[in-house]
Symmetry: none
Subunit: 237 residues, 2 copies
DNA sequence: ATATATTGTAAGAAACATGTAACAAAGATT
DNA sequence: AATCTTTGTTACATGTTTCTTACAATATAT
């Protein structure tokens, strides 16, 4: 990622040439349009990410062209204006443009803004994706505890952190998702780590011990994590 | 504020009665539904803030009901599960629920959770309001910092610039957009730069180090950017 | 009661992840 | 082209986490 389909709408052929050269050097694909017909034509045929729209187009109106773009496309629209007119800016943003840049501009400046825009787009997409692929509840509430899965931490009901390590947290999480059910060492092992489980492996036991210590759970009379001899462990609630 | 419209979905009439009594004593308005039809009916007619959804409903499926709620409402969803619920249901919790609570639960506990949720809601609404009447999402305000997204710079509450580089700012921005959430190095990498992430890549660590230095955040006892071993980094607010 | 199996845990070793200095590379600015 | 800024790489020190081993404690079966 990092490259975009860009459409520049301007009647100034020299400027169009400069913009095209520069942005293509940056790796983008650049289309140009000098009037409304060309604009609509390209929007139809290509998937445009960013439109650079000049406000002053002979025999037409840049602002109304922006509305036309908005109807057809989700593209990010930069207004390119010959004068720094706050009213144009306000109206432009009103009809659906996203940013405003004043002529004459440094190509470097334009490029920087395009980059920032692309990144913002990308970020939005990724955050949205991360949220939907989110695995279920972000918190698990038990009578005396709260497991916060976005913080990877266990808290008591007063909100105090129990300072579990990530590995401890994951083991407890597995138990908490199936409270009052005995889970075998093998099952717990397969959830929390890779590799093959060996019957004499005590790693789970040790880890349970550490969790108990942090939860203040006496192993001889556990209130939270119970041992079921010959089977495994169970979180009771 | 502090009261909410709560909808409890459960087929156990006794439990429904207890919940309703208790929460109404607390000042909330409580609706009850015993099946999908009642649920949809109430969602249609009322603006529900919080739904308590039993995982097991006779002749229906609590999980799919949650998806249905999500389609119609922005409500915060608590999954309520009994200890005898089938394991596959629990493992399959990949829908958009927000909290998970196991029966039997103390009403006091449930009430505390609801209060915490309301507080968060309220806060969210207020920040959203502040943003629109201010200057859009161009600034991210945290307890000790302000991130100005149009200037790509971090300021303290006194307005002093922290002189972050653009790259440093972008990384911090990504963390700030998901406060109190651990983000993996891979995720941070994919947001802030192009190309493929390699597991042994330390670029993110280094940059975090530089940001911490500029924020004056002691890595051994960080107040702002916390390291979660084996997972990633988290901005705490 | 005795033998056997299972679990708890201390202590040390090993594995692992992180912070960071110092240098190199890349990029921007002049 | 020369300089400055920013970012990435390598290498190493440090501290944390996890595992192994060994043995004691406990439960179960005979």
């Amino acid at each position: 990622m990092g490259i975009a389909n860009i459409l520049s709408v301007d009647d100034d052929e020299n400027l169009q040439f400069v913009i095209k050269e520069y942005l293509e050097d940056e790796g983008h694909t650049v289309f140009t349009a000098a009037n409304r017909n060309e604009l609509l034509d390209i929007l139809e045929k290509e998937t445009i990410d960013i439109v650079l729209q000049d406000l002053v187009i002979p025999n037409d109106d840049g602002l109304s062209m922006i509305s036309a773009i908005r109807e057809k496309s989700e593209a990010f629209i930069f207004i390119v204006s010959g004068k720094d007119d706050p009213l144009d800016k306000i109206i432009g943003l009103e009809v659906g443009a996203d940013d405003y840049i004043t002529k004459p501009f440094e190509m470097r400046e334009l490029n920087a803004r395009i980059k920032a825009t692309m990144r913002r787009f990308k970020q939005q997409k990724e955050t949205a994706a991360a949220e939907t692929e989110d695995e279920g509840p972000s918190k698990i509430t038990l009578p005396h505890w709260v497991l916060d899965r976005s913080r990877f931490q266990l808290f008591d009901t007063a909100g105090k952190s129990m300072n579990l390590t990530t590995g401890e947290f994951q083991l407890l999480e597995a138990l908490a998702l199936a409270p009052n059910r005995v889970l075998s060492r093998e099952h717990l092992f397969s959830i929390t780590r890779d590799g093959k489980f060996d019957v004499y492996d005590r790693a789970i036991d040790i880890q349970i011990g550490r969790i108990r210590k942090k939860m203040n759970d006496d192993p001889n009379d556990p209130q939270h994590i119970k041992t079921v001899r010959g089977v495994g462990y169970m979180l009771v609630v």
